[in-house]
């Protein structure tokens, strides 16, 4: 059971009655309080150990780094909710899946967002009728197919633009592939959790404002309220993911993991696992990847840089607020396998 997903059953705005507290809802609330109590226990009993300093600094750093982008994503999502109608999305996004996915996977070039900001944006876009495959392609491709990421990758590799280009192209193609496959095997109904409207138990997100042609100031207030609601709703997943990533950065040595594997496929797998565990920002991960450049083949470093922005612990936690568990499982496996196979194929072609 995912302890975060379903304690706030989504209902239309006109439902203002409190929901019945089912045993599951109660259990989930207890689990969250238990998680908070565990964190407090960690602070009380381990705060003077060196491991705790590493964990705390890493956890807080990941969260603080992501916080402004998460807020920005929630803010944009709120404005999409209020100002972008389903009709606009229908007009902009091609009706056929392939062109829609091809377009969406490259949207990061004109709309550069990191992986933390993109989740609330995509969540709201789904609410506006964005096709499933296109949403997945944007979600996976946006944080890589992105001028800021290209720049940081080139700098990390001593102004090597070829590596930055290779990363962007790989990210784009993999996002398209996963988007197409998900679009083929899932529908919006089987993939998405209920669309984000006023959540019971949360703040009123603006649904009580007069619905008939409200003025611009009311609409802006509603947009901010939606944004605030999104931040609180998804932000806690960021906390959870950042904490788990911090724990793993404290327990798992980068060098040990890389040194475990000698062959190319195993080194690629090792680096993909590391990307999953470290949960680094896509604009910084190239610097960590580059620190392996004399110990591991470029393919393994590339696998780290391509998988990380698409799939890591922090992101998987946040995906739970957008997708159903089965979709997350399938998408994660698909992404992992396709990244691995494409990296191996790239090496084979390059020989």
């Amino acid at each position: 059971m995912n302890p975060f997903v379903s304690e706030t059953p989504v209902t239309p705005c006109h439902h203002q009655q409190a929901p019945c507290a089912t045993p599951t809802v109660r259990l989930i609330v207890f689990v969250q309080f238990g998680f908070i109590a565990s964190m407090a226990g960690l602070i009380v009993f381990f705060r003077h150990t060196p491991e705790f300093a590493t964990l705390s600094i890493t956890f807080v750093s990941i969260f603080l780094e992501a916080l402004p982008f998460m807020l920005l994503g929630a803010f944009i999502g709120g404005f999409i909710e209020v100002f972008v109608s389903k009709t606009i999305i229908t007009h902009i996004v091609p009706a056929r899946p392939l062109p829609a996915i091809l377009l969406a996977a490259g949207l990061g070039l004109v709309f550069p967002v990191c992986e933390c900001a993109i989740v609330p944006v995509v969540r709201r876009l789904f609410g506006k009728g964005l096709p499933l495959g296109a949403g997945i392609a944007f979600l996976l491709g946006g944080p890589i197919v992105n001028p800021l990421v290209a720049l940081s990758t080139a700098v990390a590799y001593g102004n090597n633009q070829a590596i930055a280009g290779y990363r962007l192209v790989s990210g784009y193609l993999i996002a398209v592939a996963v988007g197409l496959l998900i679009d083929r095997f899932f529908s919006r109904k089987t993939a998405l959790v209920n669309e984000p409207r006023g959540n019971i138990g949360e703040m009123d997100d603006g649904c009580n404002e007069p619905a008939s042609s409200p003025g611009i100031s009311i609409q802006i207030r509603r947009a901010f309220r939606h944004g605030a609601s999104d931040f609180i709703d998804i932000g806690r997943f960021l906390v959870f993911g950042a904490f788990v990533a911090g724990v793993l950065q404290t327990l798992v040595a980068r060098g040990d993991l890389a040194a475990l594997f000698g062959s190319l496929p195993l080194s690629v797998l090792a680096m993909m696992t590391l990307a999953l565990l470290l949960s680094l920002c896509s604009e910084a991960d190239a610097f960590v990847a580059a620190s392996f450049r004399t110990t591991l083949p470029l393919t393994a470093q590339m696998a780290f840089m391509v998988l990380g922005p698409m799939l890591d612990l922090k992101l998987v936690a946040m995906y739970f607020r957008v997708f159903k568990k089965r979709l997350i499982l399938v998408m994660s496996l698909l992404t992992f396998i396709i990244v691995f196979l494409s990296m191996m194929a790239g090496t084979w072609v390059g020989r």
């Binding site: 989930i28 969250q32 138990g201 060098g255």
Partner: protein
């Protein structure tokens, strides 16, 4: 009594999210005003943090003056759990304000190839530095950048001590962390220091080393060793000054 509890619960329900946003806003202002943000993030992130603060203020404002949550009981418990989860990083932050990444973090972030990486990573910096004779006072990052240029020259630098059991006699590792975005992506920058009697220093002591750089082969990689003339113990910098920044 019950009425009073209900009234309090209603009040908490009304202002819980306002309190959450206000708390984070206050912390971001404090981080920016005291420079403590540099204990976690690269200074280039200050602008983003400030932007985040503005959004937090806007969110707080619309909730404060907008309709309030009406339910208590389990929905309030769920909302409280969410708010507390979002406050959890603050608890950790309060414990590490005066702490820093040390020897433990070095053992977890060390890959053994930092010198090669930094040398190549900073290749672009060579053009700026040119062939001008470098001043002896330089950071560990600068030593990594100019490793080949400063071979045989005198340097003065500072950092933390790390002496694992396998370290040969009269040697220690002098290290700091360099970050590109945040402390989670920190790369250790290190040199070896050679001098009789370095065993007197403890792990994570901050020292200032004055000596001559020699490039040696270490496991097939060129690494700088400072043959130290003097080593002075120094006060640890504040947590905001501990990192080197790319």
């Amino acid at each position: 009594m019950i009425r009073m509890v209900k009234a309090m619960a209603t009040l908490i329900g009304h202002y819980l999210d306002v309190f959450l946003f206000g708390l984070w806003l206050g912390v971001i202002c404090w981080l920016l005003l005291t420079g403590s943000d540099k204990a976690f993030l690269h200074p280039r992130f200050r602008l983003f943090l400030a932007g985040g603060g503005i959004l937090l203020a806007a969110f707080m404002g619309v909730i404060l003056y907008g309709p309030k949550r009406r339910s208590i009981g389990w929905p309030l418990a769920a909302a409280s759990a969410r708010a507390l989860l979002l406050m959890a990083p603050l608890l950790f932050l309060s414990t590490v304000v005066d702490q820093r990444l040390g020897a433990h973090a070095l053992t977890k972030k060390y890959t053994g190839m930092e010198q090669q990486t930094l040398l190549r990573l900073l290749e672009s910096g060579k053009a700026k530095t040119g062939n001008a004779k470098p001043k002896p006072d330089m950071s560990l990052l600068e030593i990594a950048r100019r490793m080949k240029q400063i071979d045989g020259r005198r340097v003065v630098t500072e950092g933390m001590v790390y002496r694992p059991d396998i370290m040969p006699e009269n040697y220690l590792t002098l290290f700091r962390f360099a970050i590109f975005c945040c402390a989670a992506d920190a790369l250790p920058v290190w040199v070896f220091v050679e001098k009789a009697g370095v065993e007197a220093f403890d792990d994570e002591d901050w020292i200032r080393v004055d000596g001559t750089v020699q490039i040696v082969d270490f496991n097939g990689t060129d690494v700088p060793v400072i043959k130290a003339d003097t080593i002075l113990k120094k006060k640890a910098p504040t947590s905001g000054e501990q990192y080197l920044f790319f």
